[in-house]
Subunit: 658 residues, 2 copies
């Protein structure tokens, strides 16, 4: 026996027992799970150390970060913010008008929406670089969802009220998600979904601009590629050359400055000022040439004055409320996803942290306030925030500057936009949208992860050939299906010993890994759940079949032990527990011993509480695969020298040696 002992002790230094976790009170577990699920970032950490009044101030600072950074605000910061604010205002005014037209809303709403919401965000938002405003995709979505029930042309008042109501619901939803700490819902819109969806939406928005560029009067209400091209080419004779010339001219000007902007800081300022320059130039051209009488549509009259209140315009009774509710939910989530993603990206560049749930509360408050002051859905558009960042903004004060600039425009300068041709607005939209079609990101997805690429393309094609909603639903479904498929079909691989180590690793990953005669080591790479329990049971039996076939062909010793490496099985449910029990029985019938290595605490707890631990035998559970293999080898060796395996009492004899 001395010899085998030595052989065994060389393989396994000390056998460690895997403990069954001591039971904790149910409420205790429940609370800690609740905390991990909803408060993973531990937002109360900063309050814990404070007391009384200081704690109230902390709470105020939590919801209104302006009180945190305002005391340290310097004149240098203000100079930077002033420049950035004026720059984004010059972008916000033409873009605001354009996007309001895209949403089939009065153009003035675009200006209103760049006044109140940025002020609210400046107080409540935690991003230093986000520039608040309306976005093309949400505007288009609003138009297409509300447009199905109410025609913007025939019932403009009702349509307007529904737009306010939808904005109100979007705000309430956003704030509630933040307050209820459900921000992770936004994470289910993966990066690849957003790339595809944004690209598709940008394509669709560009296609819609063909109406303006070509000077068409009638246009399809559908947004898909086929309908739009059909509509465009069936009216070839209605195309207005004046409009086309103006449009193409401004578009090439905008695109040129856009491309040049990457060359240096001078070009950046040129590109940032280009939209406003286009508007001024376009208006001058029309005013001087009287092109508005030659088929070039202009904005026309814009009421002077600040945002009128719109509380009484909210439609809070069915059936129209339901349309507004649905529209608000969808556009609210989309706007949130864009805003949070933009905020996070710039925070990463500048190395500060953004609290997703807090941002959601800020977005929600800003939209609720907006819906009461004649604004429609706003968020943090990527293009405007990028300009803000590049123009050197330091804090959210740049948003305040922008709001003040827009206020001055609203009070005094609206008549200047009377002659602005719509075709210029179309050019501005197209040039902004082209930047959203991120084909490089799509290529990167293809290179790294084919399924993510499929999700992306699915979203793109869904939006372009179906509708914005179809594309979004497709992409989310594919993403979730991917997760479910991962759970339903986890990897299970054969492990082998890495030479000169105690480690056991996947044999397909490490070509040098060696299998152990008589022992089959399998690694399960996922939690065992109802969705995969049957699969895993079948797959284990297939691995054993294949291994036995292989051994038979090679004329080697037969199989005696099946070791399951449970290291990656982080969780198990009752179906999984039944599966373990059935596997144990099935292996017993084949005269194979089931051995578990490295089960986690949840697995041990549930094996114990379901009594399956007794069936498997606590002695057959090891800390590492190495120790399990060592024990198996030891018994095999003992049997070879002393006789029968089954009568040896399994690993029981082993305990006395340790």
């Amino acid at each position: 026996m001395g010899n085998t002992d030595a052989a065994y002790m060389a393989g396994v230094e000390v056998a460690h027992r895997v403990p069954v976790p001591t039971p904790r009170p149910f409420l205790d577990i429940f609370c800690s799970n609740l905390k991990e699920t909803f408060f993973p970032d531990d937002p109360f950490r900063q309050f814990k150390q404070e007391k009384g009044g200081r704690r109230a101030i902390r709470a105020l600072q939590y919801f209104f970060p302006i009180f945190e950074w305002a005391p340290n605000y310097t004149f240098n910061f203000f100079r930077a913010d002033l420049v950035a604010g004026i720059t984004i205002a010059s972008l916000a005014i033409p873009q605001g008008i354009s996007y309001a037209k895209l949403a089939n809303l009065p153009p003035i709403l675009g200006l209103y929406s760049s006044f109140v919401p940025p002020l609210v965000y400046a107080m409540m938002g935690s991003s230093k670089d986000l520039a608040v405003g309306t976005v093309a995709v949400a505007s288009l979505l609003l138009a297409s969802m509300l447009g199905k029930t109410v025609s913007a042309k025939e019932e403009p008042a009702l349509y307007l009220h529904l737009a306010f109501t939808a904005t109100f619901f979007a705000g309430v939803l956003q704030a509630s998600l933040g307050l209820l700490r459900l921000g992770f819902i936004v994470d289910f819109l993966s990066h690849s979904t957003i790339v595809g969806f944004m690209g598709g939406a940008a394509t669709v928005v560009c296609l819609q601009q063909l109406k303006g560029i070509l000077g068409l009067e009638h246009f399809t209400t559908n947004t898909d590629l086929v309908s739009v091209l059909e509509s465009v080419f069936s009216q070839v004779h209605q195309w207005r050359w004046e409009s086309v010339v103006l449009g193409c001219g401004f578009l090439s000007f905008l695109l040129t400055t856009r491309i040049l902007s990457k060359r240096g800081s001078l070009f950046f300022w040129l590109s940032a000022a280009a939209p406003l320059t286009s508007v001024i130039l376009g208006s001058l051209v029309v005013y001087l040439s009287h092109a508005e009488t030659h088929g070039v549509d202009v904005i026309g009259h814009l009421t002077k004055g600040l945002n009128p209140p719109s509380l009484t315009k909210l439609t809070l009774s069915p059936p129209h409320m339901l349309v507004a509710l649905k529209t608000g939910m969808v556009t609210g989530i989309i706007a949130l996803a864009e805003g949070i993603a933009v905020g996070r990206s710039f925070a990463m560049f500048k190395n500060y942290h953004i609290d997703g749930n807090k941002e959601m509360i800020a977005f929600g408050a800003m939209n609720v306030a907006g819906s009461l002051t004649s604004c429609y859905l706003t968020t943090g558009p990527f293009s405007r925030s990028a300009v803000n960042y590049n123009a050197g903004c330091k804090t959210a004060v740049s948003n305040v500057v922008m709001a003040l600039a827009v206020m001055i425009t609203l009070l005094f300068l609206t008549p200047l936009f009377h002659y602005t041709p719509l075709v210029v607005l179309s050019s501005i939209i197209i040039s902004a949208m082209l930047g959203l079609i991120d084909y490089e990101a799509a290529f990167h997805l293809w290179k790294v992860d084919k399924i993510d690429f499929c999700v992306c393309i699915g979203a793109y094609l869904g939006v372009v050939f179906g509708s914005v909603e179809i594309g979004l639903v497709t992409a989310v479904m594919v993403s979730i299906l991917r997760v479910l498929l991962f759970i339903a079909r986890p990897r299970m691989t054969m492990l082998g010993n890495i030479p000169n180590s105690m480690a056991y690793r996947r044999m397909d990953q490490y070509p040098g890994a060696q299998s152990i005669p008589g022992v089959l080591v399998l690694g399960i790479d996922a939690p065992i759940y109802f969705a995969n329990a049957n699969y895993l049971r079948e797959r284990i039996s297939r691995w054993i079949n294949e291994e036995e076939d292989r051994l038979r062909v090679n004329g080697k010793t037969s199989l005696h032990y099946v070791i399951l490496d449970m290291g990656a099985v982080s969780s198990i449910d009752t179906s999984g527990i039944s599966m373990m029990k059935e596997t144990k029985k099935a292996l017993e019938r084949r005269e194979l011993q089931l051995v578990l290595a490295n089960p986690g605490s949840e697995v041990m707890k549930k094996l114990d509480s379901s009594k399956v631990l007794e069936t498997i035998g606590h002695d057959w559970i090891f800390l590492t695969v190495g120790e399990a293999v060592g024990a198996c080898k030891f018994i095999l060796h003992t049997v070879k020298t002393s006789g029968n395996l089954m009568e040896n009492g399994g690993v029981m004899g082993l305990d006395s040696h340790v």
Copy 2:
């Protein structure tokens, strides 16, 4: 240097490199993934070794297992099957009639459905113990789903046609799922869902029987508890005492035999024969006492003769087709889930294997054949299969015997059922249903897994207080939500060294595990996906904050290394890759070094193809946590003796020692 070398070499014997997998052709990966997803059980294995004619025979045997077992069929088997077949026929006849009444269909359909489908299943099914027939839950579901559009009383012909059409679609769906190898969809109905759902459905079915027991003429068409109790107690004066006495009498007889049946084999036969005995006794009582004129409803006339063809009765044009399609899909899946679960359970007892996809084809074929021969939806009911098993059946021949017994009944004995009182049928249903309310299983779920218990109770309450569909949808949603929540909030734990070993394990699971000064080891217990990438990034930063706080309080050395144990990260997507990159950057800003231990092949491949591997540095990736810690310790030690950490060139200096 000799000293540190020795110290290092003692800790880590040899540092192993984690290889980047060699790229495989896309089609190759795609095909192997496809195989793992749809053919995990390798069904072609048995064909591979055969050639030509033998292969055709194998294929025939695959789809018609009868050709596999029939050649070995013996007289002893037949004797056992004959007894079992007659036993289940005595159960099938009253149950069939009862369930057809439950589905608001002519009672004779219950007999038809016990004739053709069992014959088809006997040829195609692979279970030896399944007894085919209609089931209460699917019958009730059929009635409630079809009843919403077509009234069974006012348009009986249309209702009947829709029932056939729904059965046809259910069969087509079942067969397609099997042929397309999508059997795993059924796995998404977890065991806990089924326990809750079946319990709820059984409760609802029992409640419906109050109509029969109390002899009521009017009854609510809703199935929820509140409506039924309201309906029952609003008509207290219409209760018929004759009916109540008969019903309670037979119910106590049935329940007594049921309880006694567990006592021994004699009582088992008594219990198996009890339903038919009740029918005969009940009919005799009514015939002799003329109770049918005193408010005791009877079955009445049943047409003699075998199943008439019903091909021409299928409704394949909208709008009614759509109702039938929806009903067929839902009832088909439910029936499949019950049948497969029953088949698997008994196969486990007797130690043979059931191929889920093959079973689905058999169920599908049996229902398509049934829909053409005036049968409605059949599956393998638990109660009847249990009786079949206990009566000692050997093969599917017991189903053939049952079918022949039903055939004889259809041809000659239908007049005998003229006086059978409906109240006896209600008693039979109630006594069968009470066995489906599996409170012990629910208690077991509570003990082992609280979330599974919630799923179960959710399904139960949904069915009892809402409707069968609501309960089902609730349970499936909760199950899927659980999976998604697991993905969205994976466990991340701090690992420590188990004394006297190289293993690193969760410190909350192993109280003896020791942390390493200056090194934080974190284990990630799930694949890194878009749904959890943000969470994990925030959680890592919180772990570091907490660890640094702890070190500061204790006045210990500061943190230098963060080791992520990637052993359980079986998969990663592009969001996960970005998260790794951002984490690396964030740690760099905090002057911490990111170290990876044991990444899988997919992680390595994607880190490589996205160039993030270069950012992290291949030298900072180790085979085991132990080796990673060893390397970190070595550098820390070198720095202590030689000076600055950052100028030391990190682990680069280490390579030369290995």
